[in-house]
Symmetry: C3
Subunit: 645 residues, 3 copies
């Protein structure tokens, strides 16, 4: 199904009816409304103005549209901030930030939690029985603008309480953090500061606990909203719109309190911000890198325990990236079909009409500010038409699992040990390598069952908890562990038996040295798979098994022990291009190396093909395949869909 | 005429006489004095020490030198700052800045305005009838060191009052800024903060109004000084020395209160800071880029309503750029003649003698610190001699007008929408393109009459006010409008009828999409003028007229409607090199593409040629031309002047 | 002798005995202990816990190990910081920094000086008569993490007092700083601020005095510790461990209060942070640039008046550089031997065992966290064995002196005048150029006697005091002065008779112009030595003597007057490669250009050779030389030692 984000408060009432009719005409079913409207719903403290929203919802309902109502807490009004300036967050530099943008609040603020509860309860009560309102979105993009981590006095107090709950005794904290180092010993939890503005770098265990705390605070804040919505508006779904390439927050934990996950998909902006070779940057500037949207679909499908929406879908050029090119013609349709192919229940465009004022005035919508349809509208309409005549089969589990852990991102952000080590880059390299083989991938958090997968890829999992270890043990397929897996304890220490720590129960290896490499240095590894120049990271590993790849000095670079593999280096693209198809075949899969920008996704017996590239491509469909969309020859930026006989 | 900047307070009295004699011997006529001397004129609060200045002026007067007296307000003394620490400015980061450099005051500070009024009135009264004092310079380089915009509580109050005066009702502000977006609604002007330290970016209308306010505050502060000088020292001229490549301040507005404009010309430092291709950077490191000084002469001649001085002319290597090479031999003379060719009434060197202490000790003067003449002195002397035997004809209006708007710089600083979009770079590209054709250019602010020009070039004018539109309508020559012209309303909104907004009255076009391009992307445009790869910016424009250039996808890149042209892209150098001569010929002009570093400027029937290049060049003089300076063959860094028969 | 850094407080007591036995087995003699242990020695204010340290020392003593005891002042405990938050330093941005790293104190804080005196006295008293304790290390790496310069109110008061002591009368300060410039005049010392957060750059004389003050404060703080240690623990040596490539502190002055100097040698990290051509960066990423360790050995031998230790020697990959590669096999041994060859009395590895927790957990030790030996242990053991059978002859003075001045670094940090001018880079270029010729070098502070040297190289000495001038005058060898020598007075002014100021007494030259060059510009100089393209810096020098090199415009680039030379430009590598051997030969030395990574060092008749390169090299030993270590053909990363017949 398709949807759209709509802001009736930005437009004269006279336009609403026509807008709603136009939505229906385009084939849209859902409308997200209200998530920044606090100052318009409560223009003075305690004086409410629900009438306009009532009327807007009525107008939408009359056209048969279903409404997702956003709680308006991402933008507390000026009067609220002036009454309670302590709700403003304090940044890492110690500066109290100010009103005038959005997300200007601290998740720990008791007074903001009270104010949140008040407005959310009122909203829930008012629209609990509204027939058009089918669900709620809590707040908006938690963490955007670097807001997960606040450094205010309220956060310090809450962090101290969090630590006390975690460690009970301060000596347990002293042991866990290793405060014998540099005289960092604490005599009580009250002595513990927030980890910023230190003279030398802070203790990594201190940082990691603070990052966990900050993520937990967001979850607790969201839970407050969820509990009120469930209590006062029972029967409506609750979701939240997560972001792309964002790791400050653990989405798996937060989504436990939601009915499903949503995310906001801006492939071009994300691609602008990715580290990419210049050639790929040029090639995909108008399409997004071919695995960016897919990776997040697979991630948030996992976060949503199988269910997710794209709550905001890029409909044209945006305003927030360093450069904002226009999507290639066809891409809005392609992105929409790709989301559906990966299991999205709804794809909702952001936004119905480009707003001519304020911060986002240069962000395209489905329509131009004067109301005429922009290109995105036509592409959306076409998808709606196509969708109306197709009954998509349900998604089945993929043959390959990729284990992804937000905590790993925190660990490597805290101690990368080498400037080139970036967790998301490593994860993406593995994901993209698998997708170039035409393989469907399920993202799994550590500890999730892995029995059903023919191949499990663990790019890197520094903190390996018992439940994750157990899942790896029970996995029946092949499992590839990347570098630094098992290299840290829960408390950010080196395991007593050296890395890979608990993984030694599965793979009898011992990492006796690691190094990070400057860009000028590479280590050559060689073996039956080929010869590869590897940079960024290398390990020296002791183990019984004959390595599949060896460095020039004789030490192993890739180890196998039965169904389990350990990679003792940062993989280069050519290593992945050789290793992954070989592994896939060992796992009994049929990897299908795809040309350039072509990608595949299956739903049951249906296979989608997407051409991100500027050249025509041939869909690898069986001779007898029946095409439901497009044809065997895919022009650039086109979609094909076929059913296997 | 020539002049010099002199600081008697830096030198023993015994040297003054000799210095003054030396000035006369060099052929200098004017001396600027006193603009940083507050602590020496008022060493203790209320205790004045005028005697040394009296004596210094007397010494200069005895040699027939005319004096421009600077008000000393750019450098309030330490005792004043200690008594009133609230005059210190607060920067964007919220930090109160400190004493120890210069410009350490806030333009809004009531107490600093009082103190300013006190010292300026005393100075005016004391020297009102001094025969050698011919005029005043207010303060020094308003805005230097990023000081136009202050974020102190006094500025907040003043900004609120400014907004109230502008909008009368807060609802008008809410509409103008679009505060329905992100719950930014204000209930009173008292609620409005300064736009900094927000969590997400501030509202662009808020920023633009703040930039306007800040520029207005400087003008009001200057006006305070001007009123006192006029009241207490009638009959003396009043000027201010503006800076190069500086847009925080609207010089046209401020100069309405002055008798004429001045500016400070440092071609090498400006060139160091410009974005330039590496080859041009190397080529012009010792001369300055050939259009840098000329552009500012033409700009400040407009600012001064036809009258301007170069108040500070670089005389050798300076101290403040990242690298400070020595000017090529001859350049001090060339720069001086070029300023005169563009209409400068006086060119005044900075400074008479290199000061051996404090911040600027590495800034060359006409003399070395030990008093011996440096190269600049000899080149200045030569100009003085040459000038003595030539009676320059008056400047005539140029055939080409370039419309320049400081407000456009603010708009694009606030929302560039693409990292490559820099207003000054666009303006300079057009200006330089015209100058390479040997065309003289007048800079015009938006709204100034344009009837007399054969060709009008508008690099980009986002906010197009009625008076500007009227001037374009009345223009009788060709008018070329650059991209994004008419793209914003007065309040920083997209026009209701889409860009180019009001320009649609003159050019029936409608911009339906824009994009900014990363460096790796270019769009090819083609037409009778040639084939061009264009980067940075592209627009999709609907219009009736057949485009002169088309993008590969068929949309127009350059439109013509009668005498008016619209360019829907950021121009590349090769596009300008093809378009501008063609346009000039269409306008009935005779463009004369000049080799490399050669440039021309006319005063009546006299034509000046300047060779910025390292190779000999040939002056494009008519066969029968009479050479008044130099000859047809110009060695590097040489000047020629001929009279047409 | 060899030693090691050991932290008993990081390990269970049960391990201590085995650790001490292992140290002895490796052949180590010294153990540094205790320098970060305050919170463990005084876990509550006034409650002391000496027992564990007593026991640890006893355990070490039982194995015959000698102990260097660190005062624990680099890490004040949390309770101390909470009681006296004013001891926390304030950074240049005006932010009070926080507890949680190390070095979180201000050297000027009276209360911290009291607390320091208390703990140091107690430590000294307790271990004054301990037989195993042979000496003390004060604090740890003064100045690390940018802590020499603090901007707190206590520092302001102390700075004012320091200025009053220096200038007596405020008018003397006004003259010295040239406060007539920009109205910077002070009426009393109480008016003087710390030089930060100014609107324009601060006065350079102000900055220089502040940098001197800050360095003096560290010395005074250290002196406080030294006095107490000498008083309460007489007969023990006192040292401090200085850092590499660090100039905020004058080590010569501080070390006057020590018995000898120590330094911490991390060749790979230092090389990562150096500006180097990409090829050299790659070549030496696993060895360190061949002159990095040697330069500091020679520097700190001078600082220690002939005596120095390497207190921390890199034993494997470290954790703090942007990239942290593994040293090439053999390098730990090579670095150790090189230190001994340059006169180190002890080389002490950092640390005995890699600590598995807190900030430095990724810093290798001689052993892995689980206790097994890492490679460094084996290489250290080998050196210990070799050392046991060799009686090193004493070091003799080198034939070449390099004059090095921390104050010069401050001058150029304050006013580089060109972005490419970096003092340490210039010093290193000369040092490295000499070492590539196989020449031994003594580093000398300005003013030290130079009579014994055949060649004296002064890379640049802007402030040339009478004692330095006298030393140059008395030098009997050749003396080469680099650019900008003599260019500033003691008070950071241009000398009245122009640069090179007082040097004119020895070299009749006068610098009449200088320039800094952008990377794109080079000036060609030519003469009998060759033809050189020179960047960064050029001077125009008047003088009688015929220049040995001339710029293309005829001005001299290199001057000779008898035994003295003046270089009027920043030297390029090829100029140094031509000039230095020629100079050395003129000085009667026998320069021996060495291939790539080969370096030599002599102790009496013994010559060491070190191969930093990846190719085998041939030791330039006389045919009849007797090899004590290695052989004539040096594999990569190998050491050779021979005795001349």
């Amino acid at each position: 199904m398709l949807g759209v984000c709509y802001y009736p408060e930005h437009w004269p009432k006279e336009r609403w009816k026509e807008d709603a009719q136009r939505m229906r005409a385009l084939g849209l079913s859902y409308v997200r409304v209200g998530e920044f409207a606090w100052a318009l719903l409560e223009p003075e403290p305690g004086r409410y103005a629900w009438d306009w929203l009532d009327e807007a919802l009525e107008t939408l309902a009359q056209e048969g549209l279903k409404v997702v109502l956003g709680t308006p807490t991402a933008t507390p009004p000026k009067w609220l901030v002036d009454r309670h300036p302590e709700i403003l967050p304090v940044d890492r530099e110690g500066r109290r930030r100010r009103f005038g943008g959005r997300r200007h609040y601290c998740f720990s603020s008791p007074v903001y939690r009270e104010e949140t509860a008040r407005i959310v309860r009122l909203l829930a009560e008012r629209y609990a029985s509204h027939p058009a309102v089918v669900g709620f979105q809590t707040d908006n993009e938690y963490g955007c603008h670097d807001t997960v981590r606040c450094y205010c006095p309220r956060c310090r107090e809450a962090f101290q309480a969090w630590l006390e709950a975690r460690y009970q005794e301060v000596e347990a904290l002293n042991r866990a953090w290793g405060t014998a180092f540099w005289s960092q010993r604490y005599r009580s939890f009250r002595e513990v500061d927030l980890p910023h503005l230190t003279v030398a770098e802070p203790n990594p265990s201190h940082l990691l606990d603070y990052y966990r705390f900050a993520s937990d605070q967001v979850r607790a804040y969201n839970r407050l909203q969820v509990d009120l919505l469930r209590a006062h508006a029972p029967g409506k779904f609750i979701t939240h719109n997560f972001m792309g390439f964002f790791t400050d927050l653990d989405p798996f934990a937060l989504a436990e309190d939601l009915d499903f996950a949503s995310w906001d998909s801006y492939p071009l902006g994300f691609t602008e911000l990715m580290p990419l070779p210049e050639e790929e940057r040029r090639l995909y500037a108008r399409t997004g890198h071919p695995d960016v949207a897919a990776f997040h679909h697979d991630l948030y499908r996992a976060v949503g325990r199988g269910r997710f929406w794209v709550m905001e879908q890029q409909p044209g050029p945006v305003n927030w990236a360093p450069h904002n090119p226009s999507p290639a013609p066809g891409m809005v349709r392609l992105w929409t079909w790709e989301a559906l192919a990966h299991g999205a229940e709804v794809v909702s465009y952001f936004r119905f009409r480009q707003v001519p004022f304020a911060q986002e005035q240069m962000h395209a919508g489905l329509h131009l500010p004067d109301g005429t349809p922009d290109r995105g509208a036509e592409e959306a309409r076409r998808v709606a038409e196509e969708l109306a005549r197709l009954a998509l089969p349900p998604l089945e589990p993929a043959p390959v699992a990729l284990v992804y852990d937000p905590e790993a991102a925190w660990v490597y952000e805290i101690q990368p040990q080498g400037a080139g080590w970036r967790y998301l880059e490593l994860v993406y390299a593995f994901y993209s390598g698998l997708r170039r083989l035409g393989l469907d991938v399920d993202v799994r958090p550590p500890g999730a069952p892995l029995e059903g997968y023919a191949l499990v890829v663990v790019p890197s999992l520094p903190i390996l908890r018992p439940e994750a270890l157990e899942a790896f043990q029970k996995a029946r397929g092949l499992v590839l562990f990347g570098p630094r897996t098992g290299s840290k304890t829960e408390h950010f220490q080196i395991p007593p038996d050296l890395p890979p720590g608990p993984l030694q129960a599965l793979l009898p290896l011992r990492v006796v040295r690691v190094e990070s490499l400057p860009p000028s240095l590479e280590e050559v590894a060689e073996g039956p798979l080929g010869r590869f120049a590897l940079g960024v990271w290398r390990e020296w590993v002791e183990g019984r098994a004959e390595p599949l790849l060896r460095f020039a000095d004789g030490w192993g670079a890739l180890f196998r022990e039965g169904r389990r593999f350990y990679l003792a280096a940062w993989p280069s693209p050519d290593l992945l291009a050789a290793l992954l198809p070989w592994l896939a075949r060992e796992a009994g899969l049929k990897p299908l190396p795809l040309p350039g920008g072509l990608r595949l996704r299956r739903r049951g017996r249906w296979t989608f093909a997407f051409n991100y590239g500027p050249e025509e491509a041939e869909a690898p469909a069986p001779r007898e395949a029946r095409f439901l969309l497009g044809a065997r020859r895919l022009p650039p930026y086109e979609v094909a869909l076929w059913e296997e006989a």
